[in-house]
Symmetry: C2
Subunit: 114 residues, 2 copies
């Protein structure tokens, strides 16, 4: 058996090893993403517990469901935190607005039930 | 000075104390929300570091930007985690789709630059 038959063709072998390494790296990154997502869901659950309590408090004391001045302060702060942690501040703001819209929607439903 | 002059009118006093207690409780809840939001932003930053790395890897190895089968598994898992932690699973799914849409948008920009 010649050496060429025994060993894989070098370029193909290197390419296969490279693809294998990429697949393994992808698996490790996905595992980290899954861990982070579990933490995010649990924190979101805790955040909703707080905002549900805020909603109940506001409904019981006839306070308005939304507070634009408070939201503006939150956005300014979250954009600063995003910049510090190298997250796109525009994404942080969009993300916050998405979560707040869900919360206000929830508060309004509570207020209507009250 | 009569007792009536010395003490606040009971109903008004009780209402004022109640309003004060509600305002203080609101302040405490908002402080918790701010702490949770800071943690969420930092975790999102870490998640984006992972997905940026996934994006680079996929672009370098000509892998497709999105992976519907993986996303379906993620949604199923996150809905289960949401239920366990008493978060609305429909919200968790909506939230995940929002984040994934941003990530895919980002991967596609990277792939186009490559």
């Amino acid at each position: 058996m010649s050496q060429a038959e025994q060993q894989p063709e070098p370029t193909t072998g290197a390419a296969a090893a490279d693809a294998q390494a990429a697949t393994e790296r992808l698996g490790r990154l996905r595992s980290s993403i899954d861990n982070i997502d579990a933490a995010l869901v649990h924190l979101l659950a805790e955040r909703f517990k707080c905002t549900q309590e805020v909603g109940r408090l506001k409904a019981e004391h006839d306070m308005p469901a939304s507070d634009p001045a408070r939201e503006q302060r939150q956005i300014t702060r979250l954009r600063a935190l995003a910049e510090e942690s190298h997250l796109d501040p525009a994404f942080a703001e969009k993300w916050f607005n998405f979560v707040v819209a869900e919360v206000i929607h929830h508060h309004e439903r509570l207020a209507n039930q009250h």
